[in-house]
Amino acid sequence: MLRAFLPKHIISSLDLDRREVEHIFEVADEYEKRGRVSKELSGKVVALAFFEPSTRTKNSFESAVERLGASTIGFSSSEGTSTEKGETVADTIRMLEGYSDMIVIRHKFDGTAKFASEVSHVPIINAGDGKHEHPTQSIIDLYTVSKIKGHVDGLNFCVLGDLKYGRAVNSLLRLMTKFRPGKVFLVSPQQLKLREEVKSTLNYPVIETSSLQDVLGDTDVLYVTRIQKERFADEVEFEKVKESYKVDLKAVEMMKSDSIILHPLPRVNEIDRKVDKTPQAKYFYQASLGVQVRMAIIRYLLGGSE
């Protein structure tokens, strides 16, 4: 077990090195073999502090905690909590750390998870902070690639959609700095290009383009994201770009037969439902791997038995 490299918190994909990520992949594989049930964290309590609504992330964390034999406390939105009465994030974290061994936090403001980690004495996992990062999603993404393709190195990636506000995209591109990807195409409308502060942390060249057709034939992994209405301050701007790209059967025909399509979900219209039946569509499989990966991450941070 890689306890010597134990990070106290996972706020960004950059907080993990390659060995740690591969260790998490291996442990996730073990849980799959065991049927995703282990009671090694019996007696531990994990707080799920979801200040922003979430369906799959919260449920998969909850499922992961329970399958490890631990229990959860927490909330699913700010409504009905002391936050509505004016309690600060810091005070909420101080309260939860007294009740739990780990805090999983989601919040609509950028940087909240890092701020929480500066207050907390128990490990913090960032389950999404504004448009900033969503590191556990990126571990699931590359685990899926690794499961299907057998490796991550050398593959050509095409990341499509909202690269400006997409926190899953930020974390995925950053986690790929721990590997050696082949070509990385970034396809987005001009208004939704990857932000400079994220691009500056990447250690591999990226090719920015607005033409999906030009790069599909050279893509091994097509990562599609939703253009998120909730991240736009101006609805007029959202209307201009909301249906910029659609992955349909025609697009799939342009892809290699062994290429794959991933999506962090939820999907709206950016992938035609007819694509779901093609062999390239792996996004529901990707979502199904969320529980075992999050079990491995929680176990890694809380240090369960081997």
Partner: protein, 155 residues
């Protein structure tokens, strides 16, 4: 005695900050947290001739010593300023300044969705990513600000 010296008398104890770019003396005072209500005797000379700079500002603060951390913060708006600590009318120390690696509290993050703009306990914390050109990164949301944005906030 030069025209410049005639404008303000020498100080007994305190700090003289010279070679401030013309027009930025008030910003230097803001960085130092001096607004006049503290009771220090402060002399400002603005837009005086300078061989090196063409025009420059000078600030003299009587009874107040500028420390190293403050002098480093001054580099954000006056990179070539010289800071002299005065005791009994003599210069006892010339501060060597460098752009600080971390700037806490002074600047506001321009990202309205940054936690530092939304939680009373979350104070700003910027890292210096580049000195020339000046680029600072918010340690929470990673928004990058440049010299123009720093100047807008401080001036």
């Amino acid at each position: 005695m030069s025209d410049k010296e005639l404008l303000v008398t020498k100080i007994n104890n305190g700090t003289v900050i010279d070679h401030i770019p013309a027009g930025r003396a008030l910003a230097v005072l803001r960085v130092l947290g001096i607004n006049g209500s503290e009771g220090y005797r402060v002399a400002l000379v603005m837009n005086v001739e300078s061989k090196k700079m063409g025009r420059k500002d000078i600030v003299k603060i009587s009874g107040r010593t500028v420390d190293e951390k403050e002098s480093n913060l001054i580099t954000l708006i006056a990179p070539n300023a010289t800071i002299n600590i005065i005791k009994d009318y003599d210069v006892t120390r010339k501060m060597k300044m460098k752009i600080p690696s971390v700037i806490e509290g002074l600047l506001k993050c321009p990202n309205p969705s940054c936690i530092t703009n939304n939680d009373p306990e979350a104070h700003t914390h910027f890292f210096t990513v580049s000195e020339t050109p000046l680029l600072l990164k918010c340690s929470y949301c990673e928004t990058i600000i440049d010299e123009i944005q720093v100047m807008k906030q401080v001036l």
